[in-house]
Symmetry: C2
DNA sequence: CTAAATTTGTGCTTTAAAACATTGTTATCA
DNA sequence: TGATAACAATGTTTTAAAGCACAAATTTAG
């Protein structure tokens, strides 16, 4: 299949969801200062512990936000799709990054230097409020996720992860295949389980006709069942 | 010992940490509209699913923020001390509350109607930014907590909870006793374990001379040990 | 195009933590 | 005051999930 060409890349005014609240001056300011960065598959975008330098927007591709825990076990915290902002939490909280971000697939990122980002945040109230809204929603998600990951059983966690993926990245033309291809390991890291258990549980789901698999291609056959499993474990 | 008297209650200008960024007009506005509410021990302040009506500030006492998960198992998400704001995330995210909040001990809460809170947020950039900072820090904590609760073993989780409590509520005059008295159940709900296991693990810590117990009174004897246990589980 | 490396799939074993059961202890209150 | 309930402590059993080992399949690299 043909690789996507650069020409398809959306310009910053279409990618940046907060563009509409910027003043004409600010728009020009952003346009003059943002930079474009390309990341290859599996390349790191930033590391836990690094000092944050840029507010970032995913322009194209898919990236994972994750933490390394005990014994370098990985927990995927969030997965981003184009148009989503990241890397700004640490800037605002005056902290170092508390997560790693890496590209799942070849990705393009627009970056805006921290001081420029901060100067707009401090001058444009609507801009600031938008980020407040965004992070307020993220905090709700994070707390919900904590409880899901700690209390649900393996099947429930995996079911939830599959639903989350399909909600976040959507389905392919067939209306069933989840529009992201993850390794079993990533799926495990998303659902807080070992790779073996992710594989095993996926197989069980296939046997129960809840999903269908073809390599990394995952099809949701019986969404209701999946929802039910994710609700009670 | 004598109960604290109402006269000791700090006025809103001392409790509200964002007071300094308010304009004289806004200060008057807040003073004219905030209300004071008293909650008894164990009384609910708000419930998961409720529509948020007020931004709240804990003026006195201690409260827990928690979620009911699978099979009504409880997970304490956060514990607040005087001066901390709560109940505003749902307002900003235009959602219902996604947590329950209840008083650990007799507590006093200052409340500001949502529309008033929002009108200040939308007009005072510094005010808005302060909340952005606050919630950015909370999100970092929440993600860190997710990993701790999912990856650490029982001893590590309990050690972490004890350290968190002592950091949050401080120590009594003896320089060792944690300045909050929790039931074993609350301690378990904070550390994602069953009550039995919280009790068992506390006993083990006592036997290993890491802590000392006298009923609900918990003394940290060997903080270094506790830190080490919390780090590796 | 083969060889090495990674990823996937399965069965078996071990273990951490939950579930259960029981008893002692401390508040609560009619 | 004794009755009742809530809380704390501990031992025993069960179970979910991790850990391990190894084979098969797929990718990647030389």
């Amino acid at each position: 299949m043909a690789k996507k060409i650069t020409a398809e890349l959306k310009p910053i005014e279409e990618v940046l969801t907060v563009w509409d609240v910027l003043t004409p001056d600010e728009r020009q300011f952003v346009k003059n200062h943002y930079t474009i960065h390309y990341f290859k598959k599996n390349e790191m975008i930033h590391c836990e512990g690094d000092i944050p330098t840029h507010m970032m927007v995913l322009a194209a591709g898919k990236v994972k936000v994750y933490k390394e825990g005990v014994g370098s076990r990985t927990q995927i915290i969030r997965m981003l799709k184009p148009g989503e902002n990241f890397g700004y939490r640490a800037i605002i909280a005056s902290q170092t990054y508390n997560t790693n971000v890496a590209a799942f697939e070849a990705s393009t990122v627009y970056m805006l230097k921290a001081d420029i980002f901060l100067s707009i945040l401090r001058n444009n109230n609507a801009f600031c409020y938008r980020f407040l809204e965004e992070i307020a929603a993220d905090l709700g998600d994070s707390d919900a996720r904590t409880v899901n990951l700690t209390q649900k059983h393996i099947r429930g966690r995996l079911a939830e992860a599959l639903l989350l993926l399909s909600k976040n990245y959507g389905l392919e033309e067939d209306g069933a295949t989840i529009n992201i291809y993850l390794s079993r390991e990533d799926l495990a890291n998303l659902s807080n389980m070992t790779t073996s258990n992710a594989i095993r549980t996926l197989s069980n789901f296939v046997n129960e006709h809840i999903i269908a698999m073809d390599g990394r291609k995952l099809k949701i056959i019986d969404e209701d069942r999946l929802i039910k499993i994710s609700k009670m474990g």
